[in-house]
Amino acid sequence: MILTHEHIQLIRLLQEEFPLCERPFAALAERLGTSEARVLALTGQLQEAGMLKRISAVLYHTRVGYRVNAMVVWDVPEDRLDEAAHAVVPLKQLTHCYARTRSAAFDYNFYTMLHEHSEDDMAALIRRMEVLIHPVKYLALKTDRELKKVGMKYFIE
């Protein structure tokens, strides 16, 4: 699907605060100078094209009890990556899971972002994942400090 100026204008609005009112798409339509039906159609196109994942709530996760966050990286043989992912993706405490390129300086290829309520819970979760993934080696990179966390803004250059 080719992104038109209509899509781009809509993306610029959708990536900001989505209205909390009875007819939020109508509210966006008013700002864009078009119809509610047109906004719904364009949003549908963005979703069908895989560009828009979803419209949903962002929580302050530390305020809902998930105070311990870690990026745990794993060294997994390439031919076992899919199997490892399949084993751990269902875990709710795992929010992001990627295969990434290795480097000589950092010999890991499987990256998992984990969130737990306490240090003990996090340690237990990592032990459980070690059993599920069965890596050559792994490294838990605890967050010492969150310096920046913002949403990406597209098409605003």
Binding site: L3, I11, L14, Q15, E17, F18, L20, E22, P24, A26, E36, L40, T43, G44, A49, G50, M51, L52, K53, R54, I55, S56, A57, V58, L59, Y60, H61, R63, V64, M71, A85, K92, L94, T95, H96, C97, Y98, A99, R100, T101, S103, A105, F106, H115, L139, L141, K142, T143, D144, R145, E146, L147, K148, K149, V150, G151, M152, K153, Y154, E157
Partner: protein, 150 residues
């Protein structure tokens, strides 16, 4: 926060249907909510600082952007200055200090690979780091933050 808030928060994290009255649809899905209650509770949860906001989530690669994960070594004395620099770069969306020799980890999204490289070279030119590791994504297995509240 009561049980109705918890149920609503769980549902709101899943994604709104693309219909003219999406909060009405959520009320119907939950079964025992009205549209007005969905909107009022969501608004209150936002005011109380549990919900940051409702927003659209996009796939950067599908939009033609290039995203990567980077790591670098920064001396303790230079951390604040480097953090301030990355704060000003719009494509740097996440930046964390981690417990490792490579102690500063950040995500970078830009219009294409060339732009990503330009930004990384500019960061290196500050002299505040001895080199940036770049770990490109090969495959995404899960990108969904949804928190269950007990």
């Amino acid at each position: 926060m009561d049980d109705r808030d918890r149920r609503l928060l769980a549902r709101l994290q899943e994604g709104l249907p693309l219909s003219p009255r999406p909060y009405q649809a959520i009320a119907e899905a939950l079964g025992d909510f009205t549209e007005a209650e969905v909107i009022e509770r969501a608004e209150r949860l936002r005011e109380e600082g549990l919900i940051r906001r409702m927003t659209g989530f996009f796939r950067s690669e599908a939009l033609g952007y290039h995203s990567t994960l980077c790591a670098m070594r920064v001396d303790a004395a230079d951390i604040d200055q480097m953090a301030a620099l990355l704060e000003k770069i719009p494509g740097v969306t996440h930046n964390y200090l981690r417990d490792h020799a490579y102690n500063m980890w950040f995500t970078l999204t830009a219009r294409d690979r060339a732009e990503v490289s330009r930004i990384l070279r500019a960061i290196e030119q500050t002299g505040l780091t001895d080199g940036i590791l770049q770990m490109d994504r090969k495959r995404s297995y899960k990108i969904h933050a949804s928190f269950t509240l007990e």
